[in-house]
């Protein structure tokens, strides 16, 4: 503890934590997701679908036991940091320390480097999977909570935003979300987890949808109205018939997670961000 009740955290501890999380998240599919896949094997009606789900479970077991990434697309490193406001970082720049952790994790951990330096003209691989996509929030207290969520391109490319009129209501939201999943079809490697953001602004709603994916499969929004909407959307999506890998079946999505925020009187932004059945993320508290 430093003076004035500040807690000092050395940025090298952040680097070490990020490095470990990058490797571990890619090899360990969250256990709530595994549980949902196991239940889906029991309920799926399509024989091809059941076979696919079994192979997916076998894959996730091999990945965990042998320390091999569950999917070869080890993604862009999404890094979410909640910093207690009484924390003082020492030893260097926090953002540089995070990127150093990603660099070490992806190069030393045999993960794929999937970033290009320039989106349009050069498109040269940066060679070490940096830069990470970093979001920092200031919260009360002295903890530093770090979440790494590697995000593959296949599912991310199927995202969408709509600036709906408030009059569109619940039906408008449902229609947009279900249509997004339908359009995505087999591309995001179903069964998927559907992250939905509602409210905020154009930029904020996308982040809400992404953060919704950090919630475990099977959890619900604490607001009962939104929790009910999550259930209804899941049921609607599973009527689409897309099924495991899009070969047809009942298990198109494992969960729908919604996060919402207040918004302007004239607006109702909605965003959809998809995760595949891998959808990795891991958290530590320093």
């Amino acid at each position: 503890m430093g003076c004035n009740g500040l807690r000092e955290v050395h940025v090298s501890d952040v680097t070490a934590a990020i490095k470990k999380l990058c490797v571990s998240a890619n090899c360990n599919v969250p256990r709530e997701t595994i549980g949902a896949l196991e239940r889906a094997v029991e309920t799926e009606e399509s024989p091809v679908g059941r076979e696919v789900l079994k192979q997916i479970l076998e894959n996730h077991r091999i990945a965990r036991e042998e320390g091999v990434p569950a999917c070869q697309d080890t993604g862009v490193a999404m890094v979410f940091v909640e910093v207690g406001q009484d924390v003082h970082f020492v030893g260097g720049d926090l953002y540089a320390a995070i990127n150093e952790g990603v660099r070490q994790g992806y190069t030393e951990g045999y993960l794929r480097k999937s970033l290009v330096n320039d989106p349009l003209f050069k498109r040269v691989n940066t060679g070490d999977n940096t830069p990470a996509m970093i979001y920092v929030d200031i919260v009360p207290g002295t903890d530093v909570k770090i979440t790494v969520a590697p995000k593959g391109g296949g599912a991310e490319n199927m995202s969408g935003i709509a600036m709906l009129a408030p009059a569109a209501g619940v039906e408008g939201v449902k229609k947009f979300v279900v249509e997004r999943v339908q359009k995505a079809g087999s591309n995001p490697c179903p069964p998927v987890v559907v992250g939905v953001g509602i409210g905020g602004t154009f930029d904020r709603v996308a982040l809400l949808a992404k953060k919704a994916l950090l919630r475990p499969v099977g959890s619900h929004n604490p607001d009962p109205a939104y929790a009910k909407l999550e259930e209804e959307l899941l049921a609607e999506i599973n009527k689409l018939g897309i099924g495991p890998q899009g070969f047809g079946g009942r298990t198109t999505a494992l969960a729908v997670n919604i996060e919402y925020a207040p918004c302007h009187i004239a607006s109702m932004p909605v965003a959809v961000n998809l995760n595949c059945h891998v959808g990795p993320h891991e958290t530590v508290v320093l």
């Binding site: 997916i56 990434p69 999917c71 045999y110 890998q245 070969f247 047809g248």
Partner: protein
């Protein structure tokens, strides 16, 4: 029961495969993603030779993770195929018989499969750890500068895949979804 097939694929084998069939592939797969396809198609346009003979062969759309020491390959599941749609018909015209990826193909690609008698298989997206177990050897063929997107020759045994598009114009994605859709 899965159908065992091996490369190079003959017209007789290709003719037997129907959308929805489970197969286990043994033999050679050539890896290539968008960047490598772009170069291959450019070579063909200039009338030059390709770095490998694609006649009767299967291309696997994959960009694996780096191999740990002592292993043939890292995690190696399929990537989304539509990004190769604009290049695939030319390769089939030059004798390519199979493609492995995930996700549906354009009408152009499907027409080319009927015309040039080639099939499209899907492997399970996100099953990179499981599929890597079927890869016994991996050898660099071309374009090392592309990193994970370089062309590699993989020797595989019992590689699991499902026939999505056959030479008769069938499409498993369309048929499967139609069957289970509740309207």
């Amino acid at each position: 029961m899965a159908i065992e097939i091996s490369t190079p694929l003959t017209d007789e084998v290709v003719a037997r495969l129907k959308a929805g069939d489970n197969v286990r592939i043994s033999g050679i797969l050539y890896t290539a993603r968008d960047a490598a396809h772009k170069r291959l198609v450019a070579l063909l346009a200039e009338g030059k030779e390709l770095p490998m003979d694609i006649r009767g062969q299967i291309v696997y759309y994959v960009g694996p993770t780096p191999a740990r020491p002592g292993r043939a390959i890292g995690s190696a599941g399929p990537t989304t195929s539509y990004r190769m749609d604009s290049y695939a018909p030319v390769l089939m015209e030059h004798g390519l018989k199979g493609m492995i990826g995930k996700g549906s193909r354009s009408q152009d690609v499907r027409d080319a499969m009927v015309r040039f008698k080639a099939v499209y298989f899907a492997a399970i997206g996100g099953a990179g750890a499981l599929l890597a177990k079927c890869v016994k050897a991996s050898e660099l063929v071309a374009y090392e500068d592309l990193g994970p997107e370089a062309i590699r020759k993989l020797t595989v045994e019992g590689f699991p895949a499902v026939v999505v598009n056959d030479i008769y114009g069938n499409d498993l994605y369309e048929e499967g979804v139609r069957k289970y859709r509740v309207s």
